[in-house]
Symmetry: C2
Amino acid sequence: MENLRRLLPSAASLIVFEAAGRHQNFTRAANELGMTQAAVSYAIRGLEEQLGVPLFHRVHRAVELTEAGEKFHADVSVGLSRIQKSAEDIRAKGRETNVTLAASTAFASMWMLPRLNRMREDLPEIDLRIQTSVRDLDLEEEPIPLGIRGGDPGHWPRYHVAQLAEEVVNAVATPAYIEEHGLPKTAADLQRHNLIHLEEPVRRACDWTEWFASAGLTYPKQARRLTINDYVLVIQAVLAGEGVALGWEHLINPQIRSGALMPVAGHVLKTGLAFYVVWPRSRELNAQAKRVRDWLLEEGRRDRAASGAGE
Amino acid sequence: MENLRRLLPSAASLIVFEAAGRHQNFTRAANELGMTQAAVSYAIRGLEEQLGVPLFHRVHRAVELTEAGEKFHADVSVGLSRIQKSAEDIRAKGRETNVTLAASTAFASMWMLPRLNRMREDLPEIDLRIQTSVRDLDLEEEPIPLGIRGGDPGHWPRYHVAQLAEEVVNAVATPAYIEEHGLPKTAADLQRHNLIHLEEPVRRACDWTEWFASAGLTYPKQARRLTINDYVLVIQAVLAGEGVALGWEHLINPQIRSGALMPVAGHVLKTGLAFYVVWPRSRELNAQAKRVRDWLLEEGRRDRAASGAGE
DNA sequence: GGTTTTCCATAAATCATGCTTATCGCATGG
DNA sequence: CCATGCGATAAGCATGATTTATGGAAAACC
């Protein structure tokens, strides 16, 4: 196989030839390509010299492909169109401005939502789309580059992971509730309060039993028990003054900082697990997704710093 | 569909990319292409800017294709190799130096053979191959660009034709024969001579009957009759002093000029037909075949001029 | 039939881009 | 720790692509 560069030193003339052959007319080809007729003539002549064979008959005031030109044109068309299509696909993909993030409704509404404005400021050209679902999606199957997951990364060997926040579980209530029912100073105090339960149907979430256990207590049998199957609704119930619930620190930090919620009982549960930004190893993040990922992680760091400073 | 030239202004970088992707190594690609590593780096960077997507990971002291690069490389490889193959085919065909000419054995040995040296001088780089056959070949079926035919071009509408020589039929003998048997001054004289007959099995050829008729005579019943089925052998028989035969002027001109044969009886038959160089309309002559055709025609003109001057 | 139009080819001049040279940086491995 | 290997980068250059300007020839038009 000959060296392609020696065979076709002026690859650009292939493009010219393709257009010229298609039109069988140099002037029109020149128009299409945004160049002059003379340049087309020059390019074709060069190609003919390279190949040692005329590609066009010059006849009347027109040109038409020779037999060799016809054949070559067919092949060049096919070859170039394949390359062109590929280039267009790649460019289109590179230009895509939307990045989809798979997350739980809790994360979406309690972590992302308060930060969307900031994100719009930092990454104005990125169109973030949040895909919420009841169970963690398999990103390898979905056309989704990024996800948020809580748990043990050892269970997701097919994903890259970057930690966003530790799993820290607080008992929280509103100032109004505390005013009415008194402040539970210890975990033991809490056993007399209205505890709101999350019954997460799919994802793992710690419950009061676990929380009390971590405080060295057992979960109190209690009459006034409210169970809700959605974390967002649990927090809304707390905000409505219905009682005390467990809240993931990274999700309720904004409300704690604003004073809407207060941690109570002086005990937190650190499960040793964490929440992660994840993306499949099988694909590559495009530039935009990378920026979103980095922004999320940076935001996580900012949040930790803010909490740390606040303590 | 976007303008390909805007999409890929530097088409040459495709070739560079193909090599670089194949080697996954810029330095080696540069070697293969006969350029410097810097140029490869530059070309790839340009392509990446065009596409808006990195094509290679720069890692350690190496590069490897990104996902996008991988895909693009596959398409570029296929596309370019198709074009390359086509270009190679065309070049090979253009470089072919052999030209085949289909002709009768008579034309081959009596017209071409004496001129081969001259042709080798005039067209030294062309390797002429003469294909002789008993019947005129169908050049559209055979991979033969040029042929020699005698007859009426109206019968070959699918061929381009260019006249090489009129059909002029002479009665000829050797000086030795004339010395021995006396010079036939008229056609009538010939009726007492040893007439050698050609019995052409396939191609049309005029015979003594026709010749005498054109002279206003009838073919003489004659005892000493020699019939040969090959024109070359007929002439050889004449040269051997066996008698008088009919000879196509354009074929025996060399011998007439050299004195080896002499036209006798003061009568020639012009049939109104002619001999032609022919080539099929369905294909195009390549450059070499054209040169051979033009040389043949020029040689025909030279021959006529020489005969005309000689008269 | 002459004039105009419409093609392509060609020559000269210009411009730009692709390429080279030279150098640096960085990571690896002896 | 230095040598080696490989890429990136910057600056300058040269070639080749492109333009402008012109000519020619066939066809179309009046």
